[in-house]
Subunit: 338 residues, 2 copies
Amino acid sequence: MTQPTEKVTLADVARLAGVGVGTASRALSGSAKVAPETRAKVLEVADRLHYVVSPDAASLASGRTGRVALVVPHLSRWFFGEVSEGIHAALRDADLDLLLYPVGAVRDRHAFFERLPARRKVDAVIVVAFPVDEDERRRLELMGVHIVAAGGQSAAYPFVRIDDYAAGRQAVDHLTFLGHRRIAMLEARDPDQPDLKPPRSDAYYAALAENGIEVDPDLVVVSDWGGEEGARAMSRLLSLRHPPTAVYAHSDEVALGAVRTIRRAGLEIPRDISVVGIDDHPLAALTDLTTVRQPAFEQGVRAAEMLLGLLAGAPDVDQSVTLPTELVVRGSTAPPRR
Amino acid sequence: MTQPTEKVTLADVARLAGVGVGTASRALSGSAKVAPETRAKVLEVADRLHYVVSPDAASLASGRTGRVALVVPHLSRWFFGEVSEGIHAALRDADLDLLLYPVGAVRDRHAFFERLPARRKVDAVIVVAFPVDEDERRRLELMGVHIVAAGGQSAAYPFVRIDDYAAGRQAVDHLTFLGHRRIAMLEARDPDQPDLKPPRSDAYYAALAENGIEVDPDLVVVSDWGGEEGARAMSRLLSLRHPPTAVYAHSDEVALGAVRTIRRAGLEIPRDISVVGIDDHPLAALTDLTTVRQPAFEQGVRAAEMLLGLLAGAPDVDQSVTLPTELVVRGSTAPPRR
């Protein structure tokens, strides 16, 4: 690769842009004190001259890195990708860069926090839908690194979430309203806290109790978050002497796995078995799946906005935001056959 | 937030770790010249003391930023998320950080390259499945910034891709082999180059010609890459006096949209109409869709490995890698009804 042949200085850029060196420097560092037109002119000149400013030198002077860490378990799953896009959309105009840390396995999540403190690379961390333990949080605090959670909650740092209990109730109440009494649950556990009973499960037990329906433990199958796991869990339900007339799945991907198993068994949805999920994954609309919609992109946007408030030292940053969910009735649910 | 109350120096870290200051510095900067055990010890001490090293200061000395830009159109779509995870998997042990730039709209892609040159933030750029024009590429070169493409091809910089023509042939040849002659195509165009006829379309025309099937222009509908677009395009096909007996879609998401429209019309798949896609999206397995599998994660891994070679100055870095695709027959294709 070739390198620039002559050294262009900041003074050259300033002179050609018709501004002072201080203004040119502030324009290149993205300071808000420079008028947009001035900034555009300076950037245009810098660009034309192939002037290379070191943002690292600039940030060392300000004590800020200008970077935010996005720590996200599974980029290739819809929810995480959508939240990440929302975060980026809210940060892009703030001239902050996003450092990406995919942390698929639980041990990767802890490794991220273990390695971070020795290398202050970011001003803030956004974690997507997994919990940070108290020790990890305190280390960030000691370094002056802010933390916000998108999709999840914590007593110790600000978060944006949905009300998982309410979402679960919207799904199960829909099934009981239709007249179902033999309702199965495909329960997805938090891989970080497998012993914790999820609020989406609490909703199931509460809805059944309120409707005087006794819980049949055979109808509750613990699955993982993927579609193949949902398909396997549904097979277990179809092996029962009295299979359910309706299935409540903790996510759309799990629900779509169940749908495949039901169809392979030659049964019709919703005539023989109703299915409802949670998410409103784009493919839920394509597969006509009834579900409870959660705003994933919006959770990312709101979390990033809270972070911008923290970085700006705003006094009134929300500590928690809960976004609403809503039932979306499609073709996978109906009253049970008489 | 509280701040560390006493200032820990690099000398403190070195003393407690039992190494020289130079070794401690190299260990903290991730130099390969330090033995893993030594590095682990230094990191452990630095961590315990809450020592905060500025990686920016270290990188200014070496002239490298230690960062790679990942420029990706749609994080929330499976292919892009999967490629991104592959890239991260290959870079994680190289101690390089990934700066994330989602660039959904075409103008965002150009804006990324326009803004980059004034601020050298990265040593290299990986673009996922979109073309970089010659002017943009040359600006990167002038700055000494490497570029590699994952999913896509270029004469000007190294790339990893699949053979889109071959993938299309696998899909259409499967339909002609089954005996279909009235085969429709849901054609997804590259949003950056809408006038370019895609290789996946060339495959369609070539396969029909080889089988002596005349092209019916009514059977080719240009759609976009999403499922809803596929659903709408399929509606157009069903409004024909003689609808097709088989549909070839340029992606699984487009194919799944077509599947919904076909089912809503009361038709059965594959009895009335066969459908084949390209990708092997995880939901293709769940919805029993016949498709052509492309290795998305692997494209990311290979692109990142090429990048590591370029950064290390290796003399024998591949300029192009083409990964194989394969037909995956599931339940959405069958011979036409007699």
